[in-house]
């Protein structure tokens, strides 16, 4: 047990009651006087030249207040990565996917806005399509962007250690492949935006976003207004998982309409628009060759990947780097070569999604380890245990792991799932429909560098004591998107100041409050947690100095605990302070009366001495990573790791998969809130299971999504979910606040491969294409049967 009062407990989330009762305010709940409604015109074609846009009929429709196209928005490019600004607010010369935005309308109601959109006439000249990521680079393929020769948007060529040496050392080498499908993040709340401009030209935008700061920057740049005139506020958000980490056309168009009309304008995406906007998981085509020695020691990994990124770059530059860099751990691997290419195709743009870039790479590598273990006749968990890194080691691509509970996590799932009994005989595949499989994972705890090149602090926090005394308000730009960061900030503040959670008010997700890079790359607990702790300690120091001064005792002999000022140097006479406080509050009820000075009194007395008491905190990582090109992606102040065992039951005649049980262990360094850590793990298991077994955005031959809704894009229902066991491992991360590091994304890493390995154990066949549908299992079983017949 820790000495903390609140940290490491299961304190209820600060937003739990509001969300459970419907009181929480989401962007679409907001209404402003005189508010207009926006609608977007999306391209019906995946690739076409725009010959003419005629908005005249839309302009004339009664109730329409503004129609905007590239004429109003301009054609200056913007994007996520400064090196790949390849989008304009509206298409002007070409459309590149079904859904590409051409125009926007603001009208008095949504019906009118939608009608007006249907009156906009666009003349297109259809262009040939590029829909297949594997052939997008071929000679003669149509080019999507002048800046991307052969449709290659980004390319990475890394070589760490010496692959040839690794080949020489290896006793066993094998090559395997795995292909995935584009995903949708399937968050509950579709993107929603409300924008308004005040009489001084200040633009305020409320938006369902993960990264208010980045969005603020993009709005200012793309709309050509000074940064300080743009404010982004994030109300309650119903999930993000990555796609809400970048500025959307919906946000830009809505702001533009607010600027044109002078009225508040709201836009809420339909679910179909969520799919079309996408910016979710890429499609990956991985090929890996791994070498291993007889004793199970890894000798090298040679890895090629093609990423189908859809029409624009979005976060995809980081994605192609992450797909390679995060295989540096959690195993000792001296030699690694990676060649990754991200191509553009006429499909919605892909970006970041939980486990950014690394999920499918991890899946294939963990499958390879299983296959190598089988060939060596070694238990796959034993093989992993022989290779896991320990704290203090550095990967071949210069990632330093300062804490690392990998071994502990792997042993925990092995024992909890009774692996040895269930696996019965090491390496023996049962093939009777019941199977068990294991895998590990490795992930950053916050990206080491911002997406734009800068020495900026990654976050700042301001904590202000109530001038009237009694409580504090924490002000932060951090984005609670449902993952619970507000609760973490409240717990840290309350812990430091000896307060109850009810006396800490959190205001967050607002660029007017502070800079915070946002909720992505599993960074908030570590980074904003540091800043929050620093701000609380700053406040504490000021209060104790003021109170110590009045009492004539050294501040270091005082502490704040349980809502009280505690003297560490014996009793002190604080009667003068209490008398002063009581005199101020004549007629009030519930006044302090106990034998100790309360925080309420102390904080008021301190105000009387000092005026407003404000504490500040800030964080940016120390200099990290190597000096090679692309070293900034994948580096982090700390790394999380995880292990998982999946147990499945396969109907060998129909291919139906039932996941019976998932046992996962994750090293989060230190659980600020135990329930939230488990929640992230369980959420990851569900999301990974969906990706393994059912999720895929499907396109027709014209590049249209055929399942752009949550009826046909399948995610697991509650009936599909098995028993989940979440084991929390705490390795005490030296670079994290209180030893804490990530859990939000790392926990998804082992999910897909553990299921893949379990299905192999159950069936004896390997599936090389995700999702693992019943049909793919039956097809693989047939192929195996035919191969067997052929060989006889």
């Amino acid at each position: 047990m820790s000495d903390y009062k609140l940290l490491n407990t299961r304190a209820p989330r600060v937003d739990a009651v509001d969300k459970a009762t419907g009181r929480a305010v989401y962007t679409d709940d907001l209404k402003r006087s005189g508010m207009l409604y926006a609608a977007l015109l999306h391209s019906p074609l995946a690739h076409a030249r725009i010959l003419n846009i005629d908005t005249s009929r839309a302009q004339k429709l009664p109730g329409v207040k503004a129609v905007v196209t590239h004429h109003e928005a301009g054609i200056e490019p913007y994007g996520v990565s400064p090196a790949r600004y390849d989008e304009t607010i509206f298409c002007h010369d070409r459309v590149r996917y079904v859904g590409d935005e051409i125009a926007a309308v603001a009208a008095v109601d949504l019906d009118t806005a939608l009608q007006a959109v249907s009156l906009i006439k666009v003349d297109f000249e259809e262009l040939p399509l590029v829909l297949d990521g594997l052939t997008a680079m071929d000679e003669g393929q149509p080019q999507l962007h002048e800046m991307y020769e052969k449709n290659i948007c980004a390319e990475v060529n890394w070589h760490f250690g010496d692959i040839e040496q690794g080949r020489k050392e290896a006793d066993l080498i094998r090559t395997d492949r795995l292909t995935s499908k584009m995903q949708d993040a399937a968050f509950l709340e579709p993107q929603s935006v409300l924008a308004e401009v005040d009489s001084h030209g200040n633009l305020t935008m409320w938006s369902s976003t993960q990264a208010p700061h980045y969005v603020q920057r993009t709005l200012a740049m793309a709309l050509k207004i000074p940064l300080h005139k743009v404010r982004v506020i994030k109300p309650a958000v119903g999930g993000g998982f990555g796609p809400k980490a970048s500025c959307s056309t919906g946000e830009l168009a809505t702001c533009l309409l607010a600027m044109k009309t002078g009225k508040p304008v709201k836009l809420t995406f339909d679910r179909e628009q969520v799919f079309l906007h996408s910016r979710a998981r890429h499609q990956f085509f991985h090929t890996m060759t791994t070498g291993i020695k007889k004793d199970g020691t890894l000798s090298f990994l040679e890895h090629q990947c093609i990423l189908d990124g859809g029409a624009y770059a979005s976060f995809g530059i980081a994605t192609v780097y992450y797909a390679g860099s995060l295989l540096g751990g959690p195993y000792r691997l001296k030699n690694m070569k990676y060649d990754g290419r991200r191509v553009v195709t006429n499909k919605p743009a892909c970006g970041a999604q939980r486990g950014h870039g690394a999920v499918i790479a991890r899946a294939l590598f963990e499958v390879q380890l299983d296959r190598l273990a089988e060939e060596l006749g070694m238990d796959p968990i034993e093989l992993r245990l022989r290779n896991v890194m320990e704290a203090g080691e550095t990967t071949c691509n210069e990632l330093f792991v300062s804490s690392f509970g990998m071994r502990e996590a792997l042993e925990a799932v092995r024992d909890s799932a009774t692996w040895r009994q269930k696996r019965s005989q090491a390496g023996r595949i049962r093939r009777n429909g019941k199977g068990i499989g294991a895998a590990c994972g490795f992930f950053v705890s916050g990206a080491g560098y911002p997406i734009y090149r800068s020495q900026t602090y990654h976050c700042t926090v301001i904590t202000k004591v109530d001038d009237v005394g009694g409580g504090v308000t924490v002000m932060s730009g951090a984005a609670d998107i449902g993952q619970g960061s507000d609760t973490v900030l409240a717990m840290i503040t309350a812990e430091e100041l000896g307060l109850s959670l009810d006396d800490v008010k959190i205001t967050s997700g607002d660029t007017a409050l502070s800079v915070d890079l946002g909720a992505y790359s599993s960074r908030t607990t570590l980074m904003t947690g540091h800043a929050c702790r620093e701000a609380a300690q700053d406040v504490k120091r000021q209060i104790l100095a003021a109170v110590g001064g009045r009492l004539g005792v050294p501040p270091e002999t005082l502490d704040l605990r349980d809502g009280l000022v505690v003297s560490l140097a014996g009793d002190i006479d604080f009667s003068a302070l209490r008398e002063e406080y009581l005199k101020e509050h004549k007629g009030f009820r519930d006044l302090p009366s106990g034998p100790q000075l309360t925080f309420r009194e102390a904080s008021r007395i301190a105000f009387l001495e000092l005026g407003s008491i404000v504490g500040t905190g800030k964080y940016k990582p120390p200099k990290l990573g190597g000096s090679f090109k692309g070293a900034t992606v994948g580096t982090s102040p700390a790394f999380g790791c995880s292990a998982q065992i999946a147990e499945v039951n396969i109907d060998l005649e129909t291919g139906e998969v039932t996941v019976d049980r998932i046992t996962g262990a994750h090293d989060c360094g230190f659980a600020i809130n135990m329930t939230q850590v488990e929640g992230q793990m369980q959420g990851s298991m569900m999301m990974g299971m969906g990706e393994a077994l059912m999720e895929q955005v499907q396109y027709d031959q014209k590049g249209r999504i055929v399942n752009a809704n949550l009826a046909e894009y399948k995610i697991p229902t509650s009936l599909d979910m098995p028993h989940l066991e979440a084991i929390v491992v705490e390795s005490n991360e030296p670079h994290g606040p209180y030893g804490a590091k990530e859990v939000g994304e790392g926990a998804i890493m082992p999910v897909i491969p553990s299921i893949l390995n379990a299905i192999y154990d159950a069936t004896g066949v390997r599936i090389e294409e995700l999702p693992i549908t019943p049909e793919r299992i039956i097809a693989a079983l047939h192929a195996a049967k035919n191969a067997l017949l052929d060989s006889k």
């Binding site: 609608a39 015109l41 999306h42 019906p44 079904v98 859904g99 949504l110 019906d111 939608l114 249907s118 339909d270 179909e272 628009q273 079309l276 005649e653 129909t654 139906e656 077994l693 059912m694 499907q698 027709d700 031959q701 014209k702 249209r704 055929v706 399942n707 752009a708 809704n709 949550l710 009826a711 046909e712 399948k714 697991p716 229902t717 509650s718 009936l719 599909d720 549908t773 019943p774 049909e775 039956i778 097809a779």
Partner: protein
């Protein structure tokens, strides 16, 4: 996103409903029963309204949260074609939103489950799928129908969706329609000039299309007597355990002369392997008169697979579907025979 403009008409009687349907047939009128398909499909699509009427692709799904909806490639339907809960009277395919909805919610007489004179079962068309799922009588004597509702959509869909809607909607994968055909039910159609009774298997003609006339309403589904030594079963094959449109659905009904056989009669109905739910016509010839042993069942299952005409679509390939018809027909025949043998 948002519903189009329409007027809702509320008849007090079946005759009044039929008169309304006849009167407004020219303007576009749709029947509103449970609404689990209709209201979802009436919502105006944001994107696809701009898509020109499609030539090559006919696969756009209808954006619904009900498994009673199915999108198919069997015929050239307009993109985002409307479904219709009970049925569509829209002969003009160009017109996607009706001017009138005839809401049946006051027709309580269509919401009941009762025995018919010959010992069969009559189910009012407005009986919800949840009511069917909960009926011990149906589960006992018409097990395939009860099992058809078990995994249909979600509890919310089953609480609103009706048996009649699932049948008139005429989707190839309709989970209640397939066992209805398998159990040899007759449909009662009520029109201005009287009523007629038609076999369930002849009712749908194409995805979303049936033999119903513009002034007709499906009022009742009549299941024949469940003989002493009979048993039925349904299985929905899909990728997840709820909120699914079947990849394949199979319903079987077996009547034995005595426990253990031989088979007196058998019906196998198949969903999602043709433009409509279909009856596997060659199964009876294979099985009737035989003791339903392993070999006979295997032969019957193979025959059923030969009867289906599935296509490739985004839910599964024809190759897989044919095999699954064989696997599932075999399994369900075995289960139905067991049930037939133990029924007293």
């Amino acid at each position: 996103m948002i519903l189009p403009q329409f007027d809702v008409l509320v008849p007090e009687t079946v005759n009044e409903a039929c008169a309304m349907l006849a009167e407004h047939a020219e303007h576009g009128v749709r029947v509103l029963a449970g609404g689990t398909d209709l209201l979802v499909n009436l919502r105006r699509p944001i994107i696809t309204q701009h898509v020109p009427r499609c030539d090559g692709c006919r696969t756009h799904p209808e954006g619904a949260v009900s498994s009673t909806i199915d999108c198919t490639m069997w015929e050239s339907e307009p993109l985002m074609a409307s479904g219709g809960s009970l049925r569509t009277l829209l002969r003009d395919q160009e017109k996607t939103s009706p001017e009138f909805l005839v809401s049946l919610h006051k027709l309580k007489e269509l919401k009941n489950i009762r025995r018919s004179d010959d010992g069969g079962l009559r189910i009012g068309a407005l009986t919800t799928l949840a009511e069917i799922q909960r009926s011990p009588e149906i589960r006992q004597d018409y097990t395939a129908l009860a099992e058809g509702t078990d995994n249909l959509g979600s509890p919310l869909v089953r609480n609103r969706g009706t048996l009649g809607g699932n049948i008139v909607n005429a989707r190839p994968a309709a989970d209640a329609a397939v066992p209805t055909i398998g159990l040899g039910a007759m449909l009662t159609l009520h029109g201005k000039s009287g009523t007629r009774s038609v076999p369930a298997e002849g009712f749908p003609t194409a995805p979303g299309k049936t033999i119903i006339e513009p002034d007709e309403l499906l009022t009742e589904i009549v299941y024949p007597l469940s003989p002493t030594y009979s048993g039925s079963a349904y299985y929905k094959l899909a990728n997840r355990k709820a909120l699914e449109i079947s990849t394949v659905g199979v319903a079987v009904w077996v009547i034995l002369e005595k426990p253990g056989g031989p088979v007196a009669d058998v019906r196998v109905a198949l969903g999602a392997v043709g433009p409509t739910p279909i009856l596997a016509k060659s199964v009876p010839a294979v099985l009737i008169g035989k003791v339903p042993d392993k070999a006979a069942i295997a032969e019957a299952a193979e025959a059923a697979a030969g009867d289906c005409r599935p296509i490739d679509d985004h839910r599964g390939s024809a190759w897989y579907r044919v095999q699954m018809v064989e696997v599932l027909t075999g399994r369900l025949l075995k289960i139905a025979v067991e049930r037939a043998g133990t029924t007293t």
